[in-house]
Subunit: 299 residues, 2 copies
């Protein structure tokens, strides 16, 4: 029974990706797997096949002859598997039902990430799925997906709730901004010293609290907000400085109502994830959305 069974397609997929990526580093990103997982899988495949597939180590990554043969054979097998699927006419299962999406505010409209593009393609792919879209703050949405009231959420996330699966999709660059009526607004970057910034009243978003403070080397917050729009308001007020995603801050800069403060020094990126309940991750309706978001993020 067993013998006939698993050539273990999964291991072959990993191997092929690894070969395409020319090493672990890129394959990790492509597969969203840790280095140790890749290593384990590759060794497992070599064990099953009984011979080394590639040389690897400090001096580069190269397929062995056997690796080449396996690579080619695997590619071909994948084609056959696709052929199998289309022969039985199952390449597109009809998706139905509803999908409850949560998106963190400020992420929804990021043109760089462009979730709307993913949504658009998803709706084309799955025209019969009813979409329920909710904006919210990370903690709220993370809770919602954990307790099953949302199917999938997108945004920065704790990445720690057990039972949830997080897939990193995008790194959002942030810079430090002040409003038009802020004392520092008219001061050129090279005339600002760090002390001036570190003493200025500082607004943080709750979910990036420590990140924000740490990045500004700032002793403590003077204001805290949960929503991105609120943070914008704080900064526009001219009484606070604070971090904002560049795509939002940049908008206001263009309108002449904000400026970035020493963007070379005060900047960082936070990672956005798609999160679902692990148990839901394979539901076709959910899976397809995640796939589209990933594709969107990949460019």
């Amino acid at each position: 029974m067993r013998r006939l069974d698993n050539i273990d397609l999964r291991l072959l997929r990993v191997f092929v990706t690894l070969a395409d990526a020319g090493g672990f580093a890129d394959a990790q990103i492509l597969l969203n797997l840790s280095q140790s997982t890749l290593s384990t899988h590759l060794s497992a495949l070599e064990r099953k096949l009984g011979a080394p597939l590639c040389e690897r180590g400090r001096r580069g990554f190269r397929l062995t002859e056997f690796g080449e043969a396996t690579y080619d054979a695997a590619k071909r097998l994948f084609v056959e598997i696709d052929a199998f699927q289309s022969r039985i006419g199952r390449d597109r299962v009809k998706l139905m039902g509803q999908l409850r999406i949560g998106i963190v505010d400020g992420v929804a409209t990021s043109p760089e990430l462009g979730i709307h593009g993913a949504l658009s393609r998803y709706c084309e792919y799955a025209p019969d799925v009813f979409i329920d879209l909710l904006l919210g703050i990370p903690a709220e949405l993370e809770t919602a997906v954990a307790d099953g009231t949302r199917d999938v959420v997108v945004g920065p996330m704790s990445q720690k709730v057990p039972g949830l699966t997080y897939i990193p999709i995008y790194r959002e660059p942030h810079a430090l901004y002040c409003g038009g009526s802020h004392p520092l607004f008219g001061v050129p970057d090279d005339a600002i010293d760090r002390a001036a910034i570190e003493e200025a009243p500082f607004a943080v978003r709750g979910y990036l609290h420590f990140d924000d403070l740490y990045r500004a080397n700032h002793p403590r917050p003077c204001g805290t907000v949960k929503h991105m729009e609120a943070q914008v308001m704080m900064v526009l007020s001219g009484r606070f400085i604070g971090f904002l995603p560049c795509h939002i801050g940049g908008d206001w800069v263009r309108r002449g109502l904000m400026r970035a403060l020493m963007p070379k020094t005060y900047s960082f990126s936070s990672t956005h994830f798609v999160a679902t309940r692990t148990a839901d991750a394979r539901r076709p309706v959910v899976q397809a959305f995640v796939r589209e978001v990933k594709r969107q993020a990949a460019g």
Copy 2:
């Protein structure tokens, strides 16, 4: 990641076997799986593919049109998988190491089962494996395989030790015998009544204790043995009657030293198994031996 992965070859194998067998009953034997497992697997495949594969129930087993298509496509896919294997030149992994076999005494020499044939083919297939062969009684061997001191054992078995995998391979017919000096030896079958047999001193093999007694409708044993050869001795002594596998009893009958007592009435079959630790069952060295034994038993 998942999407690309499992068409689930295993499920397809089950389906194809099921279709070939034309129903659950035969497929159960072919696959050595329970009815519920088959049912579960078949439903799972139908769920994954999104459509029923066959009609089944009291009124027969028939593939649907979709089932036919899937069957053909699957067969073809299997051919491609074999092609994959041969393309990478892995149809025969070299087997090495040792294999510790245990065989229940009396089974080893059964010409009907012919384990020696399996052993012979195994040695040809895996010439580099060192064979360690031990005869013993069922309980001993079952313990040995459970605690890892044997890799595989063949014989009648409790089939109840957790962590062991039992595969039925053969049903051994038994009959009731008495020795040449036993009072019943000269009495023709139609002159023997059941009472006479039920009162005669009766020797049982420990591991078939209840089976033996039940089959003879006998109140209690008058002698007990563990080894088949000992049972032969008891019967030859002329003081006891007892069950023996037909292939052994028959030998002695041919030599004129035993006779079968009412073989129509007093006969039964016990099932022989190949048992391994579940964890070992997939080790190629073990797996190949099990395969040969099964093939031998199948004819």
